[in-house]
Assembly symmetry: C2
């Protein structure tokens, strides 16, 4: 999506350790035109796929999923992150490793909100290692739901998580796909 | 807002301790029609007030703020909750007490995303004690920003937080306002 690539080039900054900071437009301050465009593009990509529900995880995925949910006129659900394993049978739960924070957490959704009747579209802001999306896919699997695919705002393709998910048959669509980051330069796959 | 009151009566449940559970449509599973209507109503209520930015706090406020941000064509910012006080000068930070979880946390926003040029509309899902909104108001104050007011989805007016904010001159608008909860009965202020 051209608008996303432009925003990344104009406002994104690369921090030490290869972290792409996009807090000024995507995941702390959020631009309304970009937010609307992301929702509409996700709706276009997954139109006519039988999606019944969008599933994301707090916090940075919520605004994107909200925009897509309104564009698709479908309910969204967000998984909560719990530090403890103190969860009961009323919830679906799976352990996810956060590479950003160097720790594990439990991704938790009430069983009431994800069922075997659902065809789920996963939504998140970033796809790098794929750990968060894999966790969401496991929650959908625990519910007996089908997966329509995953939509992410930015994929750091060189980190391999997206392709690992594709290799397992999941349709993964990223609105901007970064092939590599060299120093201060960001190269998108489309611009290779 | 009639739709919000209808959803509360149809799907809300009162848990022990006077907790109103609205996870099925507002703060874990989110209904797209309600989400859109909330954004449009907040935009209508605060039209022509000079608002430049919406400020909420993770996680349950984000979807509502996202909908309102798109309806108002304004950027939104969400404060993050940190458990530690380990914050530096690059951020605005204030301690907020969570009555739901019986603990304190730091509400944190980058200084880059909230400035003295801003006229801020606070957004959240629930208003009970008012601790979260008061924390957001302090962050806006630290930035030197003006406050246009606060918009919340559900106010439990009998808990007094909203009126304390109003007494201090803040305009507070709630899309549904609960006068009291007696056993399983929910009474809105409009229906008194």
């Amino acid at each position: 999506m051209r608008l996303m690539e432009e925003m990344i080039l104009r406002e994104g900054t690369i921090l030490p350790g290869g972290v792409l900071k996009v807090g000024s437009f995507l995941n702390q301050r959020i631009d309304p035109a970009l937010l609307r465009a992301m929702g509409e593009e996700i709706a276009r990509l997954f139109a006519d796929c039988g999606v019944t529900k969008l599933l994301t995880i707090e916090s940075s995925g919520i605004a994107i999923a909200a925009s897509a949910a309104m564009a698709m006129d479908l309910p969204m659900v967000f998984a909560k992150k719990h530090r403890t394993s103190n969860v009961d049978g009323a919830v679906l739960s799976t352990v996810v490793h956060s590479f950003t924070h160097g720790m594990d957490y439990n991704a938790v959704v009430s069983r009431d909100y994800l069922t075997s009747e659902d065809c789920v579209l996963l939504v998140d802001d970033f796809l790098a290692s794929g750990a968060a999306l894999e966790g969401l896919a496991r929650l959908a699997d625990q519910a007996g739901a089908r997966l329509a695919g995953a939509a992410v705002a930015i994929e750091k393709r060189f980190q391999g998580g997206g392709d690992a998910l594709r290799d397992r048959g999941l349709r993964v669509e990223s609105l901007a796909q970064i092939a590599r980051m060299d120093g201060d330069e960001i190269v998108f796959t489309g611009s290779l």
